[in-house]
Symmetry: C2
Subunit: 580 residues, 2 copies
């Protein structure tokens, strides 16, 4: 079959995988297969754990590791990002699913599918409208405060599962604390702590030991990253050996339907109200999923010297979520731990992910009975170990030390997430960030200037030795003039007018490239006020677009007898003639 | 009694009335008395009308014209601003009082008093915290869109009263339209239209006629401004002559308790939940009251060549609202029409307002029975004539023509107020304004620069004939670097690096006086990315505070092997040595 190179190039724009395949060398295959196996070993227990965290049956987590991952492989620009169920999205789903007004409308699994569907549509729409930049308004302090807060909520919800305390899923502290019952199942606690200890020991300590014994890096990764598998296997063995699920009432995963998820479009039957009640949560979940995915993809791309395209990532993540919604899954994102495993196990291209997906499919097809006796306490331990590093209390103090305003935004987001809820915390953080931003923007740089002798250059009188004139005040405005700073500017001008007993003021607009209508009308009022005290305002060096705007707003009539001069020097020559 | 001049000066800071009294000349008294009488004639019917608009008994509007006006006279900085019940605050009160969750907690009159109390406390608190600037974030397009929208709602709610249609107070269009019953009381309609015609004819047409007959300005004002009084008197006469209230079921004001309002602190007994449920409305009402009052005070001050102090206005308006709450009143503000009457009737100082208050007190003390038979249709006509000029549809198109972004903010506020409600409309407008602001701020001015031959000056290569060097790119960043613009800046740098095939980039920070933590960490990522492609970044002309922030954030380690140069020229000399 003849396939012209140009077709490949076209495909490469919309399907970045094509580029990878075009340049694929079979030497890479060995690495990709190895990384795929290791990733699959992590993804099965982690997917199950995150499904439980979201308040869904465990198989949803496994289903969510199939089609969405393939969708991202097809459309995503990162070669190593692993997309599937992640902890932060899972807790947001849990928060949505536990809201009474949402529960009214359908089963958790239906609602999760609709959240994925709506999230996917939102991301695709944002890509069409070129709105990827919107997420930049979620500043890093807000994102990090949010992540820490959400991780604390996850810990609070999972610690009881690990130590055998039976509580319902919850999303705010108060809710969680009051729900704690007093009896602990000691056997569950034992299983949970066993899994926890294995995960801890097989992390950094084992890694250091293996470095000491000079093991190959990929083998080291294989051993340390199989900790979740080993925790799950040891727990399962103990449960089955002593029939703990019957004799001690230990919680186990229970039977999982064998076979692939059914691809279904049943969500097309939902009512408008049902769709609307889930929409706000879907917006938050998809935005956060996108921001976190792009952040991880960027880190990976910079480590591997690649580029990612934020707008293409919208399409990829949107498609992944749509794929999740038609295959019985929940909202997905690029996950940090799953991506790190894939990367550090040596994945070279998207082929690694495809191999992992194949293995997971094999397990679903014929091995689900082996998952039945996994104690849920072990899955809780896996979640706890995965999210603990996300709680960065130290970072809050550090950011505070670096920048009070950013520290405040971060702290208020963190506290907001814990005290008010996940979505409320994000809103609070964004509002705080924008408010601080406007507050600072409200104090622009303004300079009283004078002329450097024998030149046409005008400079700040506080920094340069310059020539000035009695009753003449020259003020350079160094920023665009808007509702946010016009009052500060007007007050500065009025204050300096008094200081210098100025009869004439020349405002130098060389750095002003935009004025809004609030600014112009406040200027008009100020000019009228100063005129009553006998002070005239002139403008100089007004840029084209600003001149047009002032003309449209009929400003020059209000400026009279003030004039607009092309050059500041021209204004000074003119004015000094009449003053002296 | 000896009273040193310094005491007067001290008082004058906190009680601006002292200044007026100190310089009071008895020639002014004649003008003040005349203006006081005219103002009182307007304030009684207008106060009653606005109380009805707010959904309160008519006497509340008269009570609200007493103590609050005195409080403002004592503490306010404007000599002619008239503070009392106003239309916009009244419709906001109506909207709050008609909310079902607020109605649960108390009678309308109790709730109105608590709204005034909370609003007063909020304004005083804002003054203490020096937060008067906060209101600048309500830009003029938002304020004007809001005023037009609120005025339309008032018209929709009052036209039925004027034409004898019996509807309940309502605050959204949908609500209002569905409530309209089909039967009209023709006699009420007649009375309403009579009042309406009188008000219209005695406005501009009468004024023009009197000018034609060369009448003195103050007399002209007296005649034209007594239109509300005349409308009310003619209506009352018709009602009493034909006993219309009994024979035709015409709505009248009804009996009004005689005597001064009781000063009471009964609101101190309210529950916390009651206080909290009213708080959001109180915040909106007091902020809007403050913004509108200051706007009117500024116009008056500029017309009279005086100064007002925004922070002192917070105290004055806060105290006026507290005074209203302890004397059975509703939230107050400086009103445009009441102030204009006072001003154009020739008021010279605050004495005019004190005389008006005295006259109103006399009416309350012994003449309330004369108010009993006023038809409510006449009061509705007064409101309609007062608020119609506030609907400025033309301004929406005009602002749109002058500035698309401001036009959008204004239009969305207007539509939001009508479609969603008063408070929701304001929020929508503020969000739209801030969003447009951030969007523009996200595209800062960046310039690729070169050296003007034989100088140390570096200028934009697109505007000046400058010297450049192969593989060396100089970029000047003309704005503070924050989360809002860092992505744009990073993309610009990466694009220009490719354009110029630069191996070395010098970023000139001469205009950067602030960087936030999001900016610094994005810069770090960008530098790491460029380093992989073999491009090194240097900085030059970094200001002190920015240098300190970068050091705190450990930026200079990530910059390596890039360096920070004091002067751009120094950087160029250094770099070109190694490049060539």
């Amino acid at each position: 079959m003849y396939m012209p190179a140009s077709l490949f190039r076209k495909l490469a724009v919309k399907i970045p995988l094509a580029t990878s395949l075009k340049t694929y060398r079979w030497e890479l295959f060995h690495s990709d297969v190895f990384a795929g196996i290791i990733t699959a070993i992590l993804l099965i227990p982690q997917g199950m754990a995150y499904a439980l965290l979201a308040g869904l049956p465990v198989q949803v987590g496994i289903y969510t590791s199939l089609l969405p991952a393939i969708a991202y492989v097809l459309f995503g620009t990162s070669r190593v990002l692993s997309v599937g169920p992640v902890s932060i999205a899972a807790i947001m789903v849990a928060s949505a699913l536990s809201s009474p007004e949402i529960m009214e409308y359908g089963t958790p699994i239906q609602n999760a599918m609709i959240l994925a569907l709506e999230g996917g549509l939102i991301l695709c729409l944002m890509s069409l409208l070129n709105m990827g930049n919107l997420v930049h308004y979620i500043s890093q302090p807000v994102l990090s405060g949010f992540t820490s807060g959400a991780a604390v909520i996850i810990l609070i919800s999972q610690i009881p599962h690990m130590i055998g305390l039976h509580v319902q899923p919850c999303n705010t502290i108060e809710n969680c604390v009051t729900q704690i019952p007093t009896n602990i199942n000691v056997h569950e606690m034992g299983l949970g702590l066993l899994a926890f200890s294995l995960l801890i020991i097989m992390g950094t300590p084992l890694s250091k030991l293996l470095i000491y014994f000079n093991l190959k890096k990929s083998l080291r990764t294989a051993l340390t990253k199989s900790a979740p598998l080993l925790s799950v296997i040891s727990g399962t063995l103990l449960v089955t050996l002593y029939s703990l699920q019957n004799t001690q009432g230990v919680d186990i995963v229970g039977s999982i339907p064998q076979g692939m998820p059914e691809v279904s479009f049943s969500f097309l039957e939902i009512s408008t109200e049902h769709a609307l009640v889930l929409l706000p949560s879907a917006i938050f979940i998809s935005l956060i999923a996108y921001v976190e995915s792009v952040a991880i993809a960027k880190v990976m791309a910079s480590a591997r010297g690649e580029k990612i395209s934020p707008n293409q990532e919208l399409v990829a993540l949107g498609t992944a979520n749509l794929a999740s919604s038609i295959s019985g899954g929940m909202p997905v994102a690029g996950g940090f731990s799953r991506t790190m495993v894939n990367y550090s196990a040596g994945a070279q291209t998207q082929i690694a992910m495809l191999i992992a997906v194949t293995l997971i499919a094999v397990v679903l097809h014929s091995l689900t009975h082996t998952l039945e006796y996994i104690p849920t306490a072990a899955l809780a331990a896996i979640i706890i170990v995965a999210v603990t590093p996300l709680v960065k209390l130290k970072s809050i103090f550090q950011i505070w030390h670096q920048d009070k305003a950013d520290g405040f935004s971060q702290a208020i987001t963190f506290i907001g997430v814990l005290a008010l809820g996940i979505e409320e915390g994000i809103i609070l953080g964004v509002v705080a960030t924008v408010f601080n931003y406007l507050k600072r923007a409200g104090k622009p740089h303004l300079a009283v200037v004078g002329r450097i002798k024998n030149t046409n250059h005008y400079r700040n009188i506080n920094r340069h030795n310059v020539e000035t004139w009695k009753h003449l005040l020259l003020i350079r405005i160094d920023e665009n003039i808007t509702f946010a700073n016009i009052n500060y500017i007007a007050e500065f001008i009025e204050k300096e007018q008094k200081n210098y007993d100025a009869k004439t003021i020349v405002l130098i607009f060389s750095s002003v490239s935009y004025v809004d209508t609030t600014a112009v009308s406040t200027f008009k009022e100020m000019i009228a006020g100063l005129r009553l005290t006998g002070t005239i305002i002139h403008l100089s060096e007004v840029r084209g677009p600003v001149f047009d705007k002032l003309k449209k707003m009929d400003f020059f009539n209000d400026l009279l007898p003030g004039r607009v001069f092309f050059q500041t020097n021209e204004a000074v020559t003119n004015v000094t003639k009449t003053l002296n």
